[in-house]
Symmetry: none
Subunit: 207 residues, 4 copies
């Protein structure tokens, strides 16, 4: 990026540029490896400049956090086109899994990091929105005859737990750890997906 173009940028743009650079580094090299210096180098500004737009590294973490949820939400939009509620629920799970796998550092930041949550606390709106989406889907399923004997919210929590647990185990490599050495599920090509399907099969029985 040349000097001229850079000058043309507005404040808002630069703030976003920082975030974009951070996101890029974050995805490519992980959380630990993303330093202020590297972000600055990426956007060809000085490290000091970063501090004009973000108070400190935690602030960037925080912003990235929200960015992650934005990304997840955008992936969820595809679900709007699925009429059948149970199919939509299944698709939701698949999107969630794909997101977790493809952006595992984001996933970590969004759900498994300790720090940012402290300063977030009441700003976890994005997470709550996502959860609301799940609850809505579950309710739709109930109207189609599924899970009728359960409370929608508690059932949603159960679903989320399963999905979150599955994704986390996958990301940390535990799925492979268990299967590789214990001669377990040897003929299953993809334990991750297979477990998900087992879960879905379970849900299907609850009609």
């Amino acid at each position: 990026m040349g000097i001229k173009e850079r000058k043309l940028k507005h404040k808002e743009d630069l703030k976003q540029s920082i975030l974009d650079a951070a996101k890029k580094l974050f995805i490519k090299e992980g959380y630990e490896a993303t330093s202020i210096r590297k972000i600055a180098a990426e956007i060809e500004f000085s490290p000091t400049t970063i501090y004009l737009y973000y108070k400190d590294k935690a602030a960037i973490s925080h912003a990235l956090h929200q960015e992650g949820f934005k990304l997840l939400a955008s992936q969820f939009t595809i679900l709007n086109y699925i009429e059948n509620p149970f199919e939509r629920l299944k698709a939701m799970g698949r999107v969630y899994m794909q997101f977790a796998l493809e952006n595992n550092d984001f996933y970590e930041l969004m759900f498994n990091r300790e720090e940012p949550l402290v300063c977030v606390e009441d700003h976890w709106e994005e997470g709550e929105q996502a959860f609301s989406l799940l609850v809505m889907s579950v309710r739709a399923c109930q109207q189609a005859g599924y899970f009728t004997q359960f409370d929608a919210e508690a059932f949603s929590m159960f679903i989320w737990s399963t999905m979150h647990g599955l994704c986390t185990l996958k990301i940390k490599g535990h799925l492979e750890h268990v299967t590789r050495n214990k001669m377990i599920l040897q003929n299953v090509p993809d334990v991750f997906t297979h477990t998900f399907e087992t879960f879905i099969a379970t849900l299907e029985k609850l009609r």
Copy 2:
């Protein structure tokens, strides 16, 4: 007690002290932020001394790891006294939950840390043993008529995912995050337990 034993005793003690200090720090500040120097300061020895007892930082992690699994295994022994397989499975879940909650530091270290697994890789025996226990319980349930349409191993993986996800969400505070702000499950005193019971109810249907 002769000199030799006393020396050995001292050595064992110090080794354990290091572990305790490391655990304390891991909990309080996380893996990355726990440095050999801090551990040394905690036990009031020189950093170099640590290396007399543990090869490197990973070795400490590894030892803590094993200690955690030993603890979990000991908690599991109570299950031997439960005849009814489904009851045993339920109890297993409860013990797991309790362990995760009471030793969330250990739980994190055992399941959610990246580093120590690298050097463990093919020696995650403790984890695998625990998983085997689950598979066995599931098989027993199958003989009692539960989950008969499922593969025991895949079903175990699903169960583990759910339990792991639930515990992780709890530990990270997400359960509270979602319910507090979204006016969800307001009348449920303990969302953690409630979700678990919803899960159990689900399993009960699969007979």
Copy 3:
């Protein structure tokens, strides 16, 4: 002088200060024993500051290296005024010897250190240029009837070996070691020069 130039000046100064401090330490304590910390202490800056001016330790070595060759090259310029090729060759030897003696620290760094060469590898241009100068002189001598039966390049290598060996032995004190205790060459005031002259006498025979 404007602000910009002054800043630049300062930057150059500091860069040179680092080099000077490094040189001093390299000489006094050797390459291995010269640490970034010590260099920093020498110039009374923080170790971190060093990294603002040089990428790493090797970069400092490299810079010193080049400085040394620049100095040697400047000493060689005097040779341009010597017409007679054999005289020029002799003078070249004397300049080389003088340089090695007067700047034995540099000489060591340039020719006897391991490390900096690693990163230089294919960019030993300065050394190669100096060697080219020697080859050219040898060729000129050949046109004047000297060393006609030899390959100019191989013969240059031989000359360089002799000069380098002589200078190194001198710098390390071996010349004195051998003569002092063995009652050898006792009546020769300066073994260093005397050996050089023996060498020259040898060359003279090869006409």
Copy 4:
């Protein structure tokens, strides 16, 4: 080595064992990488024990130094069987070269290290003896009509300089540096040997 055998060793043996271990490490891994701990590990004794036999690391360096000369001297014994003085001189050069190449860390320690020489000073007998050997060979050559116009000692010094310079340049990689990039001596398979032969050819002319 088992415990029993170890106990049988006498003090002298152990002292030599330490040296042997040091030598082994030294040759295999170089000077910097040879630490007291590693030596101790090699002989299966504790690091502390080393200090019973050698005051400090420098003392070991010193002993190694002498060890190196002993080794060189042993290689020189082969020369006794060569009658022709000039052939013997040539062979001496070849042995020297081989020694320098095969034990370049020893060579470094013996001739290019700064430290040990300080404490050696008057104990460089081995070096002097080796040099005497050279002088004797040169004298023998003179009786065969070579180098008659030169002082034997000064001429020996010249020879040593050349050989030392050549070996040093080789060890440090400068021979390759110069030839590789400068399109020099491209058709010569081994510049090291080739330069030596050029040197020998030079000497041959001095009859």
